[in-house]
């Protein structure tokens, strides 16, 4: 990065392009930046990092919101008001299939991003499609469960426990549904636009979102279904 051969105006122009807000604290007197001192001598972080990190912050806030629903369920777990208990409404085989579908979809989602990093459109699309298909299986099973419960008169207004149950599981289901719509959008964007820089940034964010949903589901199937079925 020696600018000695360039006129001062060209060197200034280059400096502005490299670090427009002088975030990198690069020594602006034409000397070599000192490497490895943790001063950000390479300038502001790449947009790929900033976008992913910002979305990570959003996801953590989303998980904080889920934790409120978890806390509500934990507090209300025995407030059945004479209605069905959790142990009576858990259908373990269905939960096992839902868990398998979501776990495999997390796996195929990661494979799709491995294909993205290898710049392979076909495999990216194939694995994204599989991810969406498994997500659809999950959402349909959950809709079936809710329909099944409602047809037996087990609805959110029956008891405090059921309010918290439908709130928590339903919120997760809404997230997976929204993630599925996002996934379809991403497949269309990859098809039409290819691997442009911002498309790849969106794929990173989608991956994060999908894995975070699986992490929340781990909490749900453990706390709500498995521990609920014990009591």
């Amino acid at each position: 990065m020696t600018d000695t051969g360039l006129p001062a105006s060209v060197a200034a122009l280059r400096r502005i392009r490299e670090d427009p807000h002088r975030l990198g604290h690069r020594p602006h007197d034409g000397r070599e930046p000192v490497q490895g001192i943790g001063m950000g001598t390479t300038g502001p972080a790449h947009k790929r990092i900033i976008v992913g990190y910002g979305f990570w912050i959003f996801l953590l806030s989303d998980i904080v919101m889920f934790s409120c629903f978890f806390a509500a369920f934990a507090v209300q777990r025995n407030a059945t008001a004479g209605g069905p208990t959790m142990a009576e409404i858990v259908d373990l085989p269905r939960v096992a299939i839902e868990t398998t579908a979501l776990l495999l979809s997390s796996y195929t989602c990661m494979l799709s991003f491995a294909a993205t990093n290898a710049r392979n459109v076909l495999w990216t699309q194939v694995f994204l499609f599989l991810t969406g298909l498994l997500g659809l299986v999950f959402v349909l099973l959950e809709a079936w469960e809710f329909y099944d419960l409602a047809s037996r008169g087990i609805t959110p207004q029956r008891s405090g426990m059921l309010t918290a149950f439908f709130g928590l599981v339903g919120l997760h289901g809404v997230h997976v549904t929204a993630g599925g719509l996002w996934l379809a959008t991403m497949m269309a964007q990859v098809l039409v636009k290819g691997f442009r820089r911002h498309i790849i940034h969106r794929l990173i964010c989608f991956n994060l979102f999908w894995h975070a949903l699986d992490i929340v589901w781990i909490g749900i199937f453990t706390v709500v279904y498995l521990i609920g079925s014990l009591a």
């Binding site: 790449h46 947009k47 990190y53 096992a96 491995a114 990173i204 994060l208 894995h211």
Partner: protein, 137 residues
């Protein structure tokens, strides 16, 4: 035209110029590395999930310990997801991600444990509902 005028992204937006790692991103490795990584994560997840379901169906351990064991298995599996799927590591390029995660875990812990603690005490100390109704008459 000099090289300075040709491409505004020349210095700041090359595709692979990364000094930190975004969560969920895949740091520069051969594709096979990340497929193996995903396989390992899936294997761990399957073992932990199967263990959790098996423990529920066949209660082979002391009954009151089962919920604790299930929570431990869930936390382990969340860790597996963070490491193998979200690529959160202890490396210096991951410090920001880890710190954000630590703060998130702190808030989640405060909300969940605080709610359970306060509300269970409230429930325990509250007058039974029929007596409350009596006093309101």
């Amino acid at each position: 035209m000099t090289h300075l005028d040709s491409d505004p992204d020349r210095f700041t937006a090359t595709l692979d110029d990364r000094e930190d790692h975004a969560p969920g991103d895949e740091p520069r490795e051969a594709a096979g590395h990340w497929v193996r990584n995903a396989n390992t994560g899936l294997a761990f997840s399957i073992v932990l999930t199967a263990a959790a379901f098996a423990l529920t169906i066949w209660p082979v351990v002391y009954g009151p310990a089962i919920p604790v064991a299930l929570v431990v298995l869930a936390i382990g599996q969340m860790g597996v997801h963070l490491v193998f799927f979200l690529h959160i590591t202890t490396g210096p390029d991951n410090t920001n991600n880890v710190l954000a995660l630590a703060f998130g875990i702190l808030v989640v812990f405060l909300i969940v444990v605080g709610s359970i603690w306060i509300m269970d005490h409230l429930s325990y100390n509250m007058m039974p509902m029929d007596q409350t109704m009596q006093m309101q008459r």
